[in-house]
Amino acid sequence: MDTNLLQNRIKKGIKEWLEVLPYIAIGLILVFVFVFYPLFKNFYISVTEYTIIPGAESPFVGIENYKQIFNDDKFYYAFRNSVLMVLVTVPTQIIFGVVLAYIIDNARKGKTFFKTAYYIPVITSWIVVSYIFKYIFAGGKGGFMNYILMNLHIISEPIGWFQNTWTALAVTWILSIWKGIGWCMIIYIAGLQGIPKMLYESAALDGASEYQKFRFITIPQLAPITFFILINLTIGAFNSFIQTYILTNGAPMNTTHVMMSLMYARAFQNFEFGIASAMGVLQGAVILCIIIFQKWVIKKSER
């Protein structure tokens, strides 16, 4: 009796698959070939001394690549910089994003205009904005930022922004924040529209001030959205890349690389694919942890 049931179930399953297959086949194949398979291939490459030339041998080296990574100062710099990128840019974007969203949501006129305007950096390509910032932070007296800071008497000598590790990192942070605020703002505006107006009205009856309304109604009501933004920005910042690649590409002395730019340099400039893939696997592990943490928090809050 049981085997019969199982057989029927399998038959039904196969029938359902045959029905849906014409619709999803191409999509499944593409995702498999270009996303899932590469994910696993990454593991394989990371334990070999990989040669990209077709037909050439790629000897198995075990955890040798991973060992090499951990014995390399460049990796520690890159890891530190990736973490700093998250710690500096994520909270800043969230704070500016929520304040802007709140102000725009309260503005009577020009809502659409301001929303569109603030969103333009988000849609402008990374490579273009990176060049703009490279130019704004050019060294010498004629550099735009140096000129302004000198005229405001904040600095007395022009700064060589990209000659120094910390100023170079600061520029990549400023760029990331500048480009990302609009994205936060848009999502927060959507979130604000979901807050019941009644809450504000009853608070107003109780004589709550504007600040109190913001602090005790808006912020708590936005908590789920903040969490969504927080996770997305964290993953995004951890994967940040083009700004570093264009602005510094690691200079000076490989101290400004982030994980992704170091990985790219090792793969396509030094042709150390095994080591680069091992870095990729480590990066993937970190992202997986973030996703699992996210799931865990959501589950907990639903209970």
Binding site: I24, L30, L100, Y118, I123, Y131, N232
Partner: protein, 275 residues
């Protein structure tokens, strides 16, 4: 009191606009300035000359018009393939029942979180073993392949929102699933498919690293790679870089402004995977 509040409100908004747009303005000004190998002192944020020669030089030099067309071709083809394949796939996931459906879909979602660049090495080897290195086909198939999971996720939501009653009326008239798909689902989802098309187009238009890795022949390059060619080893002519940049970003910004109502809304779901 009301007025003061209003002034502060709009004051902050305008200060924000200043920070947002000064870099763009500076870019435009520089693109209209002659001889920008050396930094002009003092720097000009507002244009004080109108040296449009940079634009002419960019358009004609280094095959730039060719790169523009390359990007256009790659982006349009990517968009069409992506929309076609992902609407079929999304329909399958939205309206069919089959074993492992939710599991596969969850894998799709997880794969969206993984940054594209992480997969670039194995993806490159796939393209290599297909013999598609240095071809548009290789580049397009990579863009479509790595975009399908996200777009399926995006479109499934819209397809699921289409009421069952509409589909049932087709079934009563003897229509098949396929009829439902192209007579009911596609037309109803047209706005979201349109929004999504623009995202697919601009994604391919802006993409940098896959294009850098896969395309070798100079004449086949796309715009983002071409922009980088204007950057010299020692001194860069920023007038040219920015003229080229403006030519490259204008189409996307125009489309965004024209369709901004829809895009901002769509951008929220699209934004669930922020690159």
């Amino acid at each position: 009191m009301r007025d003061i509040k209003k002034i502060i409100l709009y004051g902050v908004l305008c200060a924000g606009l200043l920070v947002t747009f000064t870099p763009f303005l500076y870019m435009i000004t520089t693109s209209l300035t002659k001889d920008t190998y050396a930094l002009p002192y003092p720097p000009n944020v507002l244009p004080n000359q109108f040296y449009y020669q940079n634009y002419i030089e960019v358009w004609q030099s280094n095959n730039f018009n060719r790169y523009f067309l390359n990007s256009f071709f790659v982006a349009i083809t990517t968009m069409i393939c992506n929309v076609f394949i992902s609407s079929l796939t999304a329909y399958g996931f939205a309206k069919f029942k089959f074993p492992l459906k939710e599991f596969i879909f969850k894998c799709f979602i997880i794969s969206m979180m993984v940054p594209g660049i992480l997969n670039i090495i194995p993806q490159f080897t796939v393209i290599q073993s297909l013999g598609l290195v240095d071809t548009y086909t290789g580049l397009i198939i990579l863009y479509v392949g790595s975009g399908i999971a996200g777009s399926t996720f995006f479109l499934r939501g819209f397809f699921e929102g289409i009421p069952k009653e509409l589909e049932e009326s087709v079934t009563i008239d003897g229509g098949s699933r396929w009829t439902i798909f192209h007579k009911i689902v596609l037309p109803l989802a047209a706005p979201s498919i349109g929004t999504f098309s623009i995202f697919a187009f601009s994604g391919a238009w802006d993409e940098f690293f896959a294009a850098l890795t896969i395309i070798k022949t100079e004449a086949k390059r796309t715009l983002p790679i071409a922009l980088r060619m204007f950057e010299g080893k020692h001194a860069s002519d920023y007038g040219l870089i920015f003229a080229a940049s403006i030519i490259a970003v204008t189409p996307i910004i125009l489309v965004f402004i024209i369709f901004q109502k829809q895009l901002v809304r769509g951008g929220i779901s699209e934004g669930s995977i922020k690159g």
